[in-house]
Amino acid sequence: MKLRRVIGWEFTRTIRSAQFLTMTILIPAILTIAAFVVSLALHGQPLVEADTSEPIPLVVALVFAIILFLASFLSGVMTLYSVVREKRSRVVEILLSSISASTLMAGKVIGLGIAGLLQVTVWVAAGYAVASRFVPVSLGLLTPVEWATFPLYFILGFLLTSALYAALGAAMKDVQSGGAAGLLGMIPVIPMWLSSAIINFPSSLWVTIAGFFPPFTPAVMMLRIAAVPLISEGKLAVPLWQIALSLVTLSLGVYLVMRFAARVFEIGLLMYGKSASLREFWRFGLRRGKRRQRGERSA
């Protein structure tokens, strides 16, 4: 019940912010209008004639995978900024005198996540509307496997990134300072740096293994699922057991990271004036459980 209020507050605050409105409404609207003007100037002729031999369906899946990954990454960053700002304005102390740190973290992650989801929906809808004026694309071109797995990878990946970033935000003094955040915050982004390698060699041993490593799973697996048929010209697909195993390890990873993050969050939030080092960050996350039990027993 209080969680719902935190979610509602975080969500409303985010979607009312000028930054969010610009990114979600103004920019997509301008781009869409511009694209339609151009398309009208071309007398509604598609740039590419519909041709079944073109690998457009496969490219659609790839683009979709990248958009979903970016969306979960961006809402993670939004969470980080929101936590740091709240920490700097000292409002956390009042919040923690009313609700637990884990409720606060969950409310933030979910509230900002819904806002992020809204943003992606607008982007995808605008992008789709624009793209379909020029090239024959359709979301119907996604395969059933893609329809079934992408939302799962997206939601789980989003939870993992956001929880990690919430903890990083809590352990930071301000957004400029590095500390643990600089290093750990980069982990979920690594697959994107290597995305061209993943797309070109989606079945190589290292890429396959990386797909089972939770922080990399969403990006790597979505890229693989999209790229394997593309490379093999539709003859091959990622084996189902690999998809299933990756979802299991990812779920486990989400659970562990969220627990770890909640502990770091609880300690980091009240640590003013300095950013936690990597070692402290680690210690907060691992040590806190014992202490809390003791605190509860005596309370």
Binding site: K2, W9, R90, E93, S98, G295
Partner: protein, 303 residues
């Protein structure tokens, strides 16, 4: 009235190598204002954060008892004004109050109604749609104070409520704190404003370097630990003051003398025993204030 609402028992907290709070015990009784005093870094805020359930104690217990039933920390029945001030800068006054009230279990309608009434009382009625960042420091502090009391807590914890306020607003806060006490709230008040503490508190707990220094009724503590300060203006030979064993901290400046009567010296008898040879122009004997008591206790001169 006198039942214990908050009981802190042998509570300790260690930060790295520093023992921030060391086996501290005290209790707040229903309907009283207990002053929590101590120099900067003495462990006040850490103690308060443990009471609020924000950080767990390493050892010891903190118990609450509302309506005669003992509970663990019940955050809905406690109000808290932290020392570190801050609210959502870009949010509007009424929105923030309603949100914080709802986190304490109030319905939105009730939170809105009560917040409006309090804003009225704090002369902020026309600011309810203002963004927090556009308020002056004093106004922000009023809003934060309202956030602490909006849900009608049974126990109110105020950490430095007067800091940064002008005297007019300090008076306003003092009046409201007293009113809340008269309505039956139990209040834990931490402050460096000794005159305010003296005017408000029934009992005090003085902590230094994580440990208890003084604890009890204010008047009794003054009686037991205080010393009378004397200011004297006279003509005649000041030599009688120099040999007197009953006084200390003597300062002579022309015809003025200021000094302190040692503990146990009765001021009435001291005055009657002043030599006939001097002519007194002015004399003032002051009952020790909380300020002197605090300074003496913290600098280690209290017995």
């Amino acid at each position: 009235m006198s039942e214990t609402v908050l009981e802190v028992e042998s509570v300790s907290k260690q930060f790295a190598s520093v023992k921030a709070v060391d086996a501290v015990s005290f209790a707040a009784n229903g309907g009283e204002i207990l002053g929590l005093l101590g120099p900067n870094g003495a462990g006040k805020t850490t103690t308060i954060r443990m009471i609020m359930g924000i950080i767990p104690p390493d050892a010891g217990t903190i118990r609450f008892s509302f309506d005669g039933t003992s509970t663990g920390v019940d955050k809905e029945r406690i109000g808290y004004l932290p020392e570190e001030r801050g609210l959502y800068d870009d949010a509007r006054v009424l929105d923030v109050l309603v949100y914080l009230g709802s986190l304490k279990g109030m319905s939105r309608e009730k939170a809105r109604r009560d917040a409006r009434a309090w804003l009225e009382r704090f002369d902020l009625a026309d600011r309810e749609t203002e963004r927090i960042e556009r308020l002056s420091k004093g106004m922000g502090q009023k809003v934060q104070f309202i956030a602490a009391i909006l849900h009608r807590p049974d126990l109110l914890v105020l950490d430095e409520p007067f800091a940064g306020l002008d005297p007019v607003h300090q008076d306003l806060f003092e009046d409201i704190i007293r009113d809340l006490r008269n309505e039956g709230l139990t209040i834990l008040l931490s402050s460096h404003q000794m005159n305010r503490v003296e005017a408000l508190c029934d009992r005090i707990f003085l902590i230094d370097r994580g440990q208890r220094v003084l604890y009890g009724e204010l008047e009794a503590l003054k009686e037991a630990h205080g010393e009378h300060a004397v200011r004297l203006r006279f003509s005649g030979d000041p030599g009688f003051l120099r040999q007197d064993e009953r006084i200390r901290d003597l300062t002579l400046d022309g015809d003025r003398a200021t000094f302190t009567l040692r503990r146990g010296v009765d001021p009435d008898r001291y005055v009657r025993g002043l030599p006939e040879s001097i002519a007194i122009r002015e004399i003032a004997i002051e009952w020790p204030g909380l300020h002197e008591l605090f300074v003496a206790a913290v600098t280690g001169e209290a017995g």
